[in-house]
Assembly symmetry: C2
Homo-oligomer: 198 residues x 2
Amino acid sequence: MSTVSPSTRNRGNRRAEILEAAARLFAARGFHGVSIEDIGGAVGISGPALYRHFSGKDALLSEMLLDVSSRLRESAVAVATSSPGPAETLDALLNVQITFAIEQPALITVHDRELGNVPEPARRQIRRLQRLYVEEWVTVLAELHPACPPARLRAATHAVFGLLNSTPHSAGELPAQDMRPLLHAMARSAIEASVNDR
Amino acid sequence: MSTVSPSTRNRGNRRAEILEAAARLFAARGFHGVSIEDIGGAVGISGPALYRHFSGKDALLSEMLLDVSSRLRESAVAVATSSPGPAETLDALLNVQITFAIEQPALITVHDRELGNVPEPARRQIRRLQRLYVEEWVTVLAELHPACPPARLRAATHAVFGLLNSTPHSAGELPAQDMRPLLHAMARSAIEASVNDR
DNA sequence: CTGGGATGTTAGTCATCATTAACGTAATCG
DNA sequence: CGATTACGTTAATGATGACTAACATCCCAG
């Protein structure tokens, strides 16, 4: 048996562990509904120990949202540049968002609820990344439907995000393996409808 | 006896005014991110004066959510019993939810975020009303698509709510007059897709 | 060894906040 | 009139919570 003390086991991934626990708690009770004690307790340390890893509660949230929006945006860019055409890009974008929504429901929830609690230096950057992510979608949709006004495409994109991000609400209704194609089909169909009958 | 005195009328107005302001604030900053002072300030009275109208912050939230979920549920029942057939009922249900989402974005937002902050007596009742509302949708969908398993219909219903409730996020993108048919078309199309290709 | 960095701990500190107390004031009603 | 009622106000009060201080412990490099 290998000697595994708590400190040794946790050394590398403490920050990640904290971020994950905090995401779960923030998603469930909201940023202000969660105390530093709560977050510490969720990872087996207590309260002020968090300040060894983050400069404060705000910084924790900032880092969490910056990370999410960066990852989403990067995935979108990667997918857009490596796809043969707009139809395939849209398909891949749907998969990116669906994967994220199913695998990280807490992060997705926090991501679209708690921006208002991020203090100003980071807030602007997160907003920028979110906007770039949306524009990635709008660009692809505009290629597929050049006649549709961009404002409409933007509204449709937000509506699709709402649809896909509803996963946390209907958790347990359906196994993830059924949820994935369901969401894909619904979103694709909704997008097509957004462009027609106008 | 049954006469409505001016004081009674005023009291009602004040209460409604407070509920509306509180909904706006809760939607923007979250239940715990809003103080009693904030709510009072928003209606021109200050802090503790709220206790002349509500027994506490929790009670205020409880009443707000009970009211919303009752109204949604009642509208759904009214629509379902007065429609000639399931297709028309679905159409009317879509209109109910869209109207609500567009006209009361703050209430809709609070309604699907803050249930966790409602204390237990009221919580159960709100959950019950929400469930009944969902079942109203699922029943209609089941009539239209008897072959589709109810769990799938329920998941699709939640996804459609997510789509329709995204309005607060994309506020300003599109005038309400364009938003309404857009949401209707997207939702209807998403529902049809949820039932096919299975 | 040994001294320092990384990581915890427990006990303050200082704000903020929900709630209550104690106290006006104006209208209503008997 | 006189008192109750409705509705506000400004000061406590008591909790809670973010953050800091002071103090261990463990591991590892010099």
